[in-house]
């Protein structure tokens, strides 16, 4: 289980749910949560395309989708890597790299823009998970033997309805390929410098914080192969850990996204 290699015959699917409610306008890193989250998601999609690039060709070993949710939920796109690569909306962004002599230099990198920065309305997380169900159900109907789809939800606040969201997530977790059930991961980003909890294995870590408990309960227990990759990625993850990061700062969010979006390729490399 959770060992299927990515290939054009059995591609993987990464589905990112991004909170676009008004609270995402709050300052975070050097910009806003909405700006940072959009940039982080655009970056990881770029990295997925890069990972699917073999020489001159972009192989459809992975599909990527993004659902944005505010007062309403909207499927922004769900496409194969090669299709995503045809996106001509690009920006230049700086990136620091090692100069090979112990220092750093800044170079510019071209980034395709898939997800706009939006911060408006309430938080229809339940609607987002229901849309995710539709997209994944359709994907699985075509690719029944693929590595199970991975859903990564990025949010900064309570959903409009925790109960509706729980129901939608429960239904989504019932979807599976021949290689295992859908894996759901949640990242709660916060501008406050509260205690950060990464991949917890116990709900007691959150005390009486009902919202944290809620997000913990809708996060999948990481299957052993994925847990091993989490450890490889530098997380202090133990048996029973869930795919949840609480009070993520910018670095932690990027690390979590990178881990979540590269699990299937990392497992494929090791098999």
């Amino acid at each position: 289980m959770y060992e299927q290699q990515l290939s054009t015959v059995n591609p993987g699917l990464i589905l990112i749910l991004i909170d676009q409610s008004s609270s995402m306008a709050i300052k975070y890193a050097d910009s806003s949560k909405a700006d940072f989250a959009a940039l982080a998601v655009n970056r990881v999609i770029g990295e997925i395309i890069q990972a699917c690039t073999a020489g001159e060709e972009i192989k459809d070993r992975c599909h990527v989708g993004v659902i944005g949710y505010g007062s309403r939920s909207e499927l922004l796109f769900i496409d194969s890597a090669s299709q995503l690569a045809t996106n001509t909306e690009v920006i230049d962004i700086p990136k620091r790299i090692s100069d090979g002599a112990g220092g750093f230099i800044e170079v510019s990198q071209i980034l395709r823009v898939f997800v706009p920065s939006v911060a408006k309305g309430s938080t229809d997380m339940a609607g987002a998970f229901r849309l995710a169900y539709q997209g994944i159900e359709k994907f699985i109907s075509h690719f029944q033997n693929s590595f199970p789809p991975i859903v990564i939800n990025i949010t900064d606040g309570e959903p409009d309805s925790m109960e509706d969201t729980k129901q939608a997530v429960k239904k989504l977790q019932g979807l599976q390929t021949s290689d295992g059930s859908v894996v759901i991961m949640n990242a709660y980003i916060s501008e406050t410098k509260g205690l950060q909890i990464q991949l917890p294995e116990s709900i007691e870590s959150f005390g009486t914080n009902k919202y944290a408990q809620f997000l913990y309960s809708i996060s999948s227990i990481l299957p052993e192969p994925i847990l091993a990759e989490a450890v490889n990625a530098g997380f202090d993850a133990k048996h029973g850990a869930r795919g949840f990061i609480f009070n993520a700062d910018p670095d932690a969010l990027v690390r979590f996204l990178r881990f979540g979006t590269s699990v299937d390729t990392a497992l494929a490399k090791r098999s």
Binding site: V9, E56, A101, G102, Q109
Partner: protein, 422 residues
């Protein structure tokens, strides 16, 4: 003059992938008596191209590589890679292919390609090699003289493995060569071994990691596959055999096998004229449909096959003086005389076929000594155990065990300073 001969070079991509997706590479130059294989890391940047450049540049490098002079070769290869990737960028951009962005970003961010590498060359009476990573070269003794012809074809005993197994077993990370300058490299191993006197009884089998690991595992279990590998005759044979092994535990990975032998072609100018650049052979191979194989079949179609073990084979010098080996040079000549009539071009199998009614004394020849196979039953032991085995084999075959695998500290320091200062 001793030269290497090529008995077969094959590569196969992972299951459900195309040949163009294969990141392995092989190359050989018969005139230079060099052969190389390389395994590009799947997720690295233009790794197949890097593996190809490493192999070709090694085979065409004007001097022998040594611990003191290998960096120039690597830097030259790195320059070639950057130039070729830059050309690719131009082509992609011009053709409007979306992947130009990935290519440009890769160059700007100094993404590297990474590859394992083994290169072997004949240098006078020595077999010189450079290796890094988990690809392997096996020096295999094949049996020329058992009494049973069918058994003879099955006998192949591994006598040496490069790089040494104990080093690999202690490493938790595959090492390799980076395509970017200013990347502190892993240091390769160098080896320098006198070629056995009875070199015609030896083969070199170079393999990338999946097949190498499987071969060693089977050897440990007493179910050697080496003879099967050495007897493959075509790309189709290779594909069928590898697919069979994949059902029995061979990892699904790009798989490359290159088999070489030794031949003394003397100073016959006619033979020298008939040598063909390996480029032509490789280009013939590339026009084939999958599976790709440059095998004895293909070599048979080119003049280069005359250098493949065939009627011109001469065993050089006398046999070893090991206590278990009473092989005599005169017996060798008698063997050849009796064999020449039955040998045909490219018919590598018959090289090792025993002559019926072999001269007395040959029975004691320590070829495919089953005890030797037993000695290597567990190839994954500690350094001291492997050293003992090497000593034992040395005693039997009088081979030198000069294995200079540890670069001197001063060289290490110089290399680190050089990369820091660039």
């Amino acid at each position: 003059m001793l030269t290497i001969t090529i008995n077969g070079c094959y590569k196969l991509p992972k299951v459900k992938e195309q040949y163009v997706d294969c990141q392995d590479s092989f190359f050989f130059d018969l005139q230079a008596s060099r052969i190389a294989i390389s395994d590009g890391a799947t997720q690295s940047f233009y790794s197949g191209l890097w593996a190809d450049i490493l192999c070709r540049s090694y085979c065409s490098w004007p001097t022998s590589l040594s611990q003191q002079h290998w960096c120039e070769w690597l830097e030259s290869a790195q320059d070639q890679w950057i130039e070729r990737v830059s050309e690719k960028l131009y082509q992609l951009r011009t053709a409007g292919k979306p992947s130009w962005i990935e290519c440009l970003n890769g160059l700007k961010l100094k993404k590297e390609a990474f590859a394992t590498f083994i290169g072997l060359s004949l240098d006078g009476p020595y077999l010189r090699g450079i290796s890094i990573g988990d690809s392997r070269a096996f020096l295999v003794r094949v049996s020329p003289l058992p009494f049973n012809l069918a058994e003879a074809r099955k006998k192949a005993s591994i006598e040496r493995v490069f790089p040494s197994l104990w080093q690999h077993s202690f490493s938790s990370q595959t090492t390799g060569l980076s395509s970017q300058h200013n990347q502190i490299p892993y240091l390769p191993e160098f080896f320098d071994i006198p070629i056995p006197h009875d070199s015609a009884n030896y083969r070199l089998a170079l393999m990338t990691d999946a097949l190498a690991d499987y071969t060693i595992r089977m050897e440990n279990q007493g179910e050697s596959i080496m003879a099967d590998l050495l007897s493959l005759k075509s790309g189709q044979d290779f594909k069928d055999y590898i697919n069979k092994l994949r059902k029995s535990g061979l990892a699904n990975d790009d798989t490359t096998l290159a088999i070489a032998g030794f031949a003394d072609i003397g100073n016959d100018p006619a033979l020298a004229d008939l040598r063909q650049e390996s480029d032509d052979i490789c280009s013939i191979a590339k026009t084939q449909d999958e599976p790709l194989g440059v095998s004895s079949d293909i070599l048979n179609e080119t003049p280069a096959t005359l250098i493949v073990p065939g009627v011109q084979l001469l065993l050089s010098s006398s046999a070893s003086d090991s206590s278990n080996n009473n092989y005599q040079e005169s017996n060798t000549s008698n063997l050849l005389d009796s064999e020449i009539g039955s040998l045909s071009e490219g018919d590598t199998e018959n090289i090792n076929a025993p002559a019926m009614g072999a001269p007395s004394g040959v029975e004691n020849l320590s070829i495919c000594d089953e005890n030797l196979v037993g000695k290597y039953a567990d190839l994954s032991l500690t350094e001291s155990s492997v050293d003992r085995k090497i000593s034992d084999v040395t005693e039997r075959t009088s081979m030198s065990t000069e294995l200079d695998i540890s670069p001197p500290i001063s060289l290490l320091r110089d290399l680190i300073n050089k990369f820091k200062n660039q």
